[in-house]
């Protein structure tokens, strides 16, 4: 090597990472990928967007029938249909986003193995695509809520807080699932079952806080349900959006302090997601 080598301008190359290659590029890519995918999925075909509505609406129809006519769970509550619809739309977002993100990194194998691509963009873009769809669905639900006769309240302004909390949880769970799936392919099966469990462990079908004749769940079980961060979010949405008189998450948990486990779980999921994604990101290309 020559001693006069001017090596000014040389920067260290640090290998692949979650954010790799600059913050601006990360956000540009994230935005472009999710928007392009959203446009393609929902507006590419004639029934594109309508198609995406069919699934939650069908589910809604079936559940509404079953739980008002057959099991009578919801017949004691005037607002049951809107509550059910809002819950289904929220949960559909959570489930669709996480399921799509689960396989996203593996599906984008070419990009991961042959380009220097910020790994985190891949699951997040999938979540964001689902989120755009969720926002459209929410607009429809809002029309439905107003048509149902629910008076607008100032607490509606708090709804974005709940949506943000749901988005963060969905995104972090997606991060965990997408990197785990690279190494363990049965995560897909496990998650299908787990998502089903979560659906029933969240107050979507059954309203909390019914008493007397209508009592559906004992207090004990309601306390237990509030360990589930999704349940906390959904219950709070119910209070803010539909029924100010319904038990808040804190009341359902049996006191504000009892919400602490859910908060810890929520933050734990976030921290775990960041940790495992950062740990696995440099190795994804090798493990595929």
């Amino acid at each position: 090597m020559t001693t006069t080598t001017p090596d000014a301008g040389l920067r260290d190359v640090n290998g692949p990472s979650a954010l790799g290659g600059g913050r601006r590029r990360f956000f540009d890519l994230l935005w472009l990928m999710s928007v392009t995918e959203f446009r393609r999925t929902y507006f590419g075909t004639v029934f594109g967007y309508l198609w995406s509505l069919v699934r939650p609406l069908m589910l809604f129809g079936v559940l509404l029938f079953v739980f008002t006519q057959v099991f009578k769970v919801g017949s004691g509550l005037d607002d049951y249909p809107v509550l059910l619809l809002l819950g289904i739309v929220q949960f559909t977002f959570f489930q669709e986003a996480t399921t799509a993100a689960l396989t996203s990194v593996v599906a984008q194998e070419g990009v991961v193995r042959k380009t220097q691509f910020p790994r985190l963009v891949i699951p997040l873009a999938t979540v964001l695509t689902s989120f755009f769809n969720f926002c459209l669905n929410l607009a429809i639900v809002l029309v439905f809520i107003l048509a149902w006769g629910v008076e607008p309240m100032w607490t509606w302004l708090l709804f974005p807080v709940a949506v943000a909390a749901l988005f963060v949880l969905t995104a972090t769970v997606s991060m965990i699932l997408s990197v785990l799936f690279v190494r363990f392919r049965d995560v897909a099966i496990i998650w299908t079952v787990l998502a089903q469990v979560l659906f029933y462990a969240t107050p979507i079908l059954y309203p909390l806080g019914l008493v007397g004749e209508e009592e559906f769940l004992s207090q004990r079980i309601e306390h237990l349900l509030m360990l589930n961060p999704l349940a906390v979010i959904f219950e709070q949405v119910r209070v803010w959006m539909l029924e100010p008189s319904a038990p808040t998450a804190a009341e359902a948990a049996g006191g504000a302090l009892h919400l602490l486990p859910a908060v810890v779980i929520y933050l734990g999921v976030c921290a775990f997601a960041v940790w495992i994604f950062n740990r696995e990101a440099p190795r994804i290309a090798e493990d595929l």
Binding site: D12, R25, L32, V111, V112, T115, I190
Partner: protein, 425 residues
Amino acid sequence: MPVDIPATQAPAARHAPVPKPGDPLAIQVEGLHKSFRIPTHRVDSFKERLVRPFAARDYRELQALQGISFDVRKGEFFGIVGRNGSGKSTLLKLLASIYRPDAGRIRMAGRLAPFIELGVGFNMELTARENVVLNGVMMGLTPGETRRRLDAVIDFAELEEFSELKLKNYSSGMLVRLAFSVMMEADADVLLIDEVLAVGDASFQQKCADAFHAMKAAGKTIVLVTHEMATVEEYCHRAMLIDGGHIRQMGDPAETGREYLKLNFERGVDTGDQAPGEGAGGAQLLDCWLEDAAGERTTTLEHGERIRLRAEIEVEREATGLQVGFVLANADGLGLFEFGTPVQTEEGSDAIPAGTRVLVKADLENPLAPGRHFIHCGAQSTRGGGVYSYVHNALDFVVFGTVGTKGIVSIEHEIEATLEPERKP
């Protein structure tokens, strides 16, 4: 006689400045190590992990790169060659930040195009336009910049009519053209390319060649991994040969190319696998080999290097009028030519007593085209004694070289082309 010589290079690009020692560095690699853990039993489910918690610890360590250090100067066209599994693609992936090195340091100046293969970022469900924008952003341009360059990219690829067509409906040639245009337009300072030059039809190839020369002239730094020696020799300023994770040779592309071919063929030739002898018996071929100029045995010859054939034959019965002959055949089994010699004792007698060993030495010019060749060896009597021995494929060897020749041999020739004075424009 007027001869039509196709122009193969853009004239301006011919005189691209050659990077010299002392020019600023674009890539600096020091002591790069990379190994992979190859599990003897791959655990790819939680279930298995639970059932056999320690299975994942059984693995073989594959040393892909073992201490690679090199510099690439700004504006240099640097070739990396090596056999499959030599570690060259691993090296490229390390440079491209797709893998993380175990040890060592990579430093780079300027903006790197993050692709190592054409068209990997393409989404088949999207139109050409959408893909160009997406790819541009992957390369580090802003969406705005990419949209401004969109038309130029589509133009270069000659795909104006198809820009709104989804890529899944593209032909593979169209895809490659689009991918190549995207890469050319990205305007990165450093490009890493894994075997992509032989793409598209002849006219597009010409365009690509021009583009490469233009990039060379524009001072882009390019690292190229390829099997094509001709590509290395045509484009590269320097080349590096990697073998078994080590640098085996670095420097002049032509020299590196020769070294690579030699390496490639050395391992490809089976030895000691001779066909059993045929013939009536009476003489037996003991050994047959080629020697290089230093008298060492070899199984590879460089194109044009003299063929020094040696054979050892034992005469088992007294033979009169013994003649030893060889047929040289190419890989298709086509006999190219034959040569032979009568065997006489020192006294000039053609009666060879039993038990005699005959050493045959033949030196031939080597007009053979690069490729594998075979020599059949026979011993027979010219006086009606029949064939004593015949060994088909007694020897096989490989002629290597970077000349591409149509035909099975190249023959020395003189040729000239002149302009007829009265027809000058």
